[in-house]
Symmetry: C2
Subunit: 190 residues, 2 copies
Amino acid sequence: MKLLEDRIIKDGRVLSGDILKVDSFVNHMIDVELMANLAKEFYRLFENEGITKVLTIEASGIGIACLTALNFGVPVLFAKKSKSSNVSSDSYTVDIASYTHGNVNNVSVTKDYLTENDTVLIIDDFLATGNALLGLIDICTQAGAKVAGCGVVIEKAYQAGGELVRKRCRVEALARVASMGVDGSIHFAQ
Amino acid sequence: MKLLEDRIIKDGRVLSGDILKVDSFVNHMIDVELMANLAKEFYRLFENEGITKVLTIEASGIGIACLTALNFGVPVLFAKKSKSSNVSSDSYTVDIASYTHGNVNNVSVTKDYLTENDTVLIIDDFLATGNALLGLIDICTQAGAKVAGCGVVIEKAYQAGGELVRKRCRVEALARVASMGVDGSIHFAQ
């Protein structure tokens, strides 16, 4: 999606450790008008799939998930990374390793909110290792829910995650980064 | 706001430990159409304040903050609860104790994204002890940013937070819970 690629070129920054920093418009400060445009594109891509719920994981997927769900007229469900005292123990859970944070989170969704009657669109900001999306697909499998596909804002197409997740379901990435140069350049896959 | 109070009566649940569980429509599953209506109300209340940024804290404030910011045509900035490897060390930080989770989080906002030129609307899902809002106000003070006020979805009006935060800035709560009965009843302040 050219609008997003142009913005990544303009405001994204390549840091050491293979980090694409987009926290000025995606995952710390959020350009909600840009996200609303991306959300419309997710709607266009999945509008005929009978989506009943948009599933994401806290925290940085929540904004784009809410704007996407508004187009579909369905609720957002966000998987929680830590057990709080007001989440039921009656949950679907999975362990997800985070590349960015270098830790493993136990991620959970309350069973009441995801069932075999659901057709789910999974939304997240990044696809790199695929761990987060695979974990969310696993939660849907536990619930017997159908996964219509995954919509991600940015895919690091040179990492293994995209191939792993595409073995499980349809994946639509609005920008696919093919490589990042040590000079800070960013190149997109066709 | 009657729409919200009616929904809290219908779907909210009172649990032991003074917990009002609204995770079927506010902070685990999110009814985005309801939130879009609440966001419009926040816009009506603060539209003449020259808001330049909506500030919230991860994770459950992000959805309502994004929908609110869309009305204002300004970005969302969400304070992060844990230091990740792609957040600059050049941040405003504050420690915030969480009643729900029983822990203390170091919360941070990157300095580049909040300045003395900003007029901030702080948005969160709950106001109880006031710790989260007071922490976000502190971050704005560190940045020299003006706080136009706080908009919260649900205030537990019988806890001390509302009074503490109102000493610092304007607070608008869309539902103010006056008391919760052991029988599960929920009563609202006038």
